[in-house]
């Protein structure tokens, strides 16, 4: 080679590229117009297949063309023999694969492929599985491929064990793959299910003795291996969230049994309040109220008009049913949809009565991670603490430790939990509100437990940095509540569930909304000093609390409103002691 070497200039190269692009665009547009014309003319022929193939090869996301192609193929099916149809669809599969190379995440392609497999007289699932393997090796998180894989596995009956081994391989090569962990979580319970608690084969499936029951669970032996796997992952890289999420799933989230948690009866007002284990729509649950053996025709209503699904429902008994203090009554609420009921006895001389399972016994607040045995949870807590020593600022570790401690002993670990929340807010300030809310929830839970233990009806949680309220359905029988010196912004509609509330102290918050103070029949005294109540309209709901006589609104912007005193005395005529 003795020639002189000259290289094309950049300008030359760019001009050539531009010309090529223009040519391509022109060809595309004319082909597209031709295709759409054919379709509106209803032509289902080979030419249609050719044109759509040309267009889809460079742009596989053009959904209309896939639709048209399906129309053509269906038509051609009617004209061909079975083995020709097989060939037709097999070549279609080849074509789809080529399109997938252009865009492996094309909705159109994957959908079309699924469709083709339903039309194929003899689908080749092994090849489809191989395609999934290849696509996933290129991109482990291609969710189209994962979904398609699930379809293939289901249709072809690939064994769960084989698929589990597949996840083993993927996780082994890269444990940051959330998709693989997730898939694993769907496979494990199928392969290693937890044996039913009552293993005697002759008894009919009886309700479990523990109030929590668990499906989708994995047997213990396998679980321990999975814990080890998770440990390896989060010790190797504690910042990778996939393993932490999988770990939390392993530790278990129990499903609470559906039941009536509390029935409260008050002679005054002849009212029955019922609390359910989850929000319901009373009118559709087949509730039946039986008083002294007689079913009663009652209207159920929610505590607040904005709560159409609510855990607490009220009804009024016919006047005179229970007003006489010298009578004893027996009340039963039947929840026919769930085949459960609860009784409540109202004794002579008692103005009220209630029946509830204690939150402690229900292990109510352990349902985050409560399924495992204490010994296992304890061992896991130890491992996590070991990691925390090495990585004191790791938020995943801190959060998991908090959840483990709550599962083991919410009251005993309270101090440590609060300290960890503090650290969490420092290391992860972007989510500090989330942590504050979560901490509030845990503090409320602890206070409920302490309240039960002390057997009182006073709920006191002042100066605890509360940012939100929850579990209000558990406070049905509380008479006094103190939420002063926190960071609450509102008393939400759920607050109306506190049907027995007599005294509310909520000074020194930032409350601007009092929606939840609605038709609280026993509420007498409210103190809301130093909050953010600004307008008269904010106080409207108080008018429905007919027993309210004392109201303290000092330190609220509302006192600047013109004529506020006279307005308020009009709105709340029964309030005798008003402080502004």
């Amino acid at each position: 080679m003795h020639g002189r070497v000259k290289i094309k200039s950049t300008a030359q190269q760019e001009e050539e590229k531009r010309k090529e692009k223009e040519k391509k665009l022109k060809a595309f547009v004319s082909a597209r117009d031709a295709v759409l014309k054919k379709r509106s003319a209803g032509e289902h022929d080979e030419e249609a297949l050719q044109l759509t193939r040309q267009l889809l090869s460079s742009n596989p996301d053009f959904a209309t063309l896939w639709n048209y192609r399906r129309e053509v193929l269906l038509h051609l099916e009617t004209l061909r023999e079975k083995d020709e149809v097989q060939k037709l669809y097999e070549s279609e599969l080849h074509f789809i694969e080529a399109c997938l190379k252009v865009n492996p995440k094309s909705y159109g392609c994957w959908h079309h492929r699924t469709w083709v497999n339903t039309r194929l007289p003899q689908p080749d699932w092994t090849r489809e599985l191989g395609l999934c393997d290849r696509c996933l090796s290129l991109d482990e998180r291609n969710f189209h491929c994962w979904d398609y894989r699930r379809v293939v596995v289901k249709a072809s009956g690939v064994s769960v064990e084989q698929e589990l081994q597949f996840t083993d391989r993927l996780i082994g090569s890269n444990f940051s793959n959330y998709s693989s962990w997730h898939y694993r979580s769907t496979l494990l319970p199928q392969l290693h299910p937890q044996p039913a608690p009552d293993s005697a084969p002759n008894t009919s499936p009886s309700p479990t003795t523990s109030p929590q029951f668990h499906s989708h669970r994995v047997c213990e032996e396998q679980l321990l291996k999975e814990y080890e796997l998770s440990h390896n992952a989060f010790f190797t890289d504690p910042n990778d969230q996939s393993a932490w999420f999988y770990y939390r799933w392993l530790l278990g989230r129990a499903e609470r049994e559906e039941m009536i948690s509390c029935v409260y009866v008050s002679r005054e007002g002849e009212r029955v309040s019922v609390a359910f284990s989850k929000p319901v729509h009373a009118q559709s649950e087949g509730l039946m109220l039986v008083l002294d053996g007689q079913p009663q025709q009652v209207e159920w209503r929610s505590t607040h008009p904005r709560l159409r699904h609510s855990p607490v429902w009220l009804c009024d008994l016919p006047p005179g049913s229970i007003s006489d203090m010298s009578n004893e009554h027996n009340l039963t609420i039947h929840w026919t949809e769930k085949h459960t009921h609860r009784d409540c006895a109202l004794y002579t001389g008692c103005a009220e009565s209630w029946c509830r399972d204690s939150a402690t016994n229900l292990e109510l607040f352990r349902s985050e991670l409560s399924v495992e045995k204490s010994s296992v949870l304890q061992a896991e807590l130890q491992s996590c603490n070991q990691l925390l020593e090495l990585e004191p600022q790791n938020k995943w570790c801190l959060l998991t430790i908090i959840l483990l401690m709550r599962a083991l002993d919410p009251l005993g670990h309270e101090k440590e939990t609060l300290a960890h929340f503090q650290t969490l807010k420092e290391v992860d300030p972007m989510r500090s509100t989330y942590y504050s809310d979560l901490c509030s929830k845990f503090l409320i839970e602890n206070t409920i437990l302490k309240m039960e233990y002390a057997e009182v009806r006073v709920f006191s949680l002042s100066n605890k940095n509360l940012t939100t309220l929850c579990h209000l359905d558990q406070l049905l029988f509380v008479t006094h509540i103190n939420l002063s010196s926190n960071q609450l912004l509102r008393l939400p509609p759920h607050f109306a569930m506190l049907q027995c509330l007599e005294v509310l102290e909520a000074d020194d918050n930032a409350i601007e909304n009092l929606e939840g103070l609605y038709h609280l029949p026993k509420l007498e005294e409210v103190s809301l000093r130093n909050n953010q109540i600004c307008k008269l309209s904010d106080l409207e709901s108080l008018a429905s609390c007919t027993k309210l006589t004392r109201l303290d609104l000092r330190g609220n912007p509302v006192h600047r409103t013109a004529h506020i005193e006279s307005e308020l005395s009009q709105l709340l005529p029964r309030v005798t002691a008003l402080s502004l």
């Binding site: 020639g3 070497v5 000259k6 290289i7 090569s173 010790f235 190797t236």
Partner: protein, 431 residues
């Protein structure tokens, strides 16, 4: 070769890489307490390792992450700048296990190496990870001899001329300038030249200042199995065997599977290297018998333990001169004779490349060293006769293989044919 470094950069930059194919080295192994184990170096390895406790895994990952850009955290190491790397590792609370892994198999330094060098070596290793595969190393198919071959091929494409099957017998030196002006080959042809590049082993003792050298001990084996069986029998492994005493050198071993195109299917080719204390056999035979089964008497009873080791089908021990520390002052040669030393004992080829570059710049100080070859599509040919400059001159890079020193010429009026009579040359013929 390291996946990041002078050689890879050069191969890519000059487009010479298209003449060769490479395979990843699949795993890094070490030998501890008589057992061959895998060294976890990537995240996936650490995750899957059964040899480390979870706490060790965390400590290792933490340390490696720190090493990746250790310069950003001077407070972590400023107290140890003059201390050995080993001490630094101990101070970081790494267990003995981990210290061994890092020192011998990742940084690949000695007990005496100072901290900064150790950190840099670890960093280099980590930065090479993941570029092409799970380990930092690549191996060219058909062996390391392919690398110089590729460069030669590129050179030939642009006008370099190769004369095969004869070598240079003597130099013709101009007495006045003490520069070589021609060489005479073994067929008696005289080729005039302005520079002469030659590999060290062609230089006779008379031209050397001293004849005492460091040596490298080498062994080559053909075996029937891998030292560490695994799911795949087609893996290339790099093995570091730590020294038994701290003053002795570590032994490095490369085990090549047949798909590296260096040995027959069903066999493995194994190279062992260390810097010499005695003969190669003295230095390396103990390691060989620890890892392999060397049958001394045909048909003898072999213990179960022995049978589990791979059998040695053929072995050769030899010592090589390590001339890498030499420079032009070590020879008494004319100034336009450039000697390329042989390979050094280290794993990468940085030393050879530096040398090639410096020789190149001696000869052609204004030219770019190994510029990228143009894309064939963009070349326009003029079609007239032999012209002046080609796009660049390449050096033959002498790495592990020994190559014939090719004589390159600046002006391509290379008419090799004349047979000058010996009387024309000044009679100081030297080899």
């Amino acid at each position: 070769m390291y996946s990041r470094g002078a050689l890879v950069d050069l191969l890519i930059k000059s487009n010479v890489s298209r003449y060769a194919e490479f395979k990843n080295i699949g795993r890094i192994l070490t030998c501890r307490n008589g057992k061959v184990e895998q060294v976890p170096c990537s995240r996936a390895d650490v995750f899957a390792s059964k040899q480390l406790t979870v706490v060790e895994k965390r400590m290792l990952m933490k340390f490696l992450t720190f090493c990746l850009d250790f310069e950003q955290h001077p407070e972590e190491y400023q107290d140890y700048t003059e201390k050995p790397f080993r001490e630094f590792l101990k101070n970081k609370k790494l267990t003995e296990n981990l210290q061994d892994f890092i020192l011998h198999s990742i940084a690949m330094v000695t007990q005496q190496t100072l901290m900064e060098e150790g950190l840099k070596a670890t960093q280099h290793f980590l930065r090479c990870l993941g570029r092409y595969g799970n380990t930092p190393f690549l191996f060219p198919l058909y062996g390391l001899g392919e690398i110089p071959q590729c460069f030669c091929r590129m050179c030939a494409v642009f006008g370099g001329i190769y004369c095969l099957r004869h070598s240079v017998q003597c130099l013709v030196v101009d007495k006045a300038s003490n520069k070589v002006k021609a060489v005479i080959d073994t067929r008696g042809q005289k080729i005039s030249c302005s520079h002469f590049v030659v590999e060290d082993s062609y230089i006779r003792d008379e031209q050397r200042q001293s004849t005492a050298y460091r040596q490298i001990s080498r062994a080559v084996l053909i075996t029937d199995r891998s030292v560490l069986p695994s799911d795949s029998d087609q893996q290339i492994s790099l093995v570091t065997i730590p020294p038994l005493e701290s003053s002795a050198p570590a032994v490095r071993m490369v085990e090549l599977c047949s798909s590296s195109m260096t040995c027959m299917p069903g066999t493995y080719l194994v190279h062992l290297t260390c810097s010499s204390s005695g003969t190669a056999q003295e230095d390396l035979a103990p390691v060989v018998s620890e890892l392999f089964h060397v049958s001394t008497i045909p048909g003898e009873e072999t213990s179960v333990e022995e049978r589990s080791k791979p059998a040695v089908l053929w072995v050769m021990y030899f010592n090589m001169r390590d001339t890498s520390a030499l420079d032009s002052s070590s020879y008494s040669l004319p100034s336009n004779v450039h000697v390329c030393t042989g390979p050094d004992g280290s794993l990468g080829s940085d030393c050879s490349i530096k040398l090639a570059e410096s020789v190149f710049h001696h000869i052609l100080p204004d030219e770019e060293f190994c510029p990228p070859a143009p894309n064939p599509e963009d070349i326009i040919y003029d079609g007239d006769g032999p012209q002046a400059e080609g796009p660049g001159f390449d050096e033959s890079v002498n790495t592990e293989a020994e190559e014939e020193g090719a004589a390159h010429e600046k002006s391509p009026s290379t008419e090799p044919a004349e047979m000058d009579s010996v009387a024309d040359t000044t009679p100081s013929s030297e080899e």
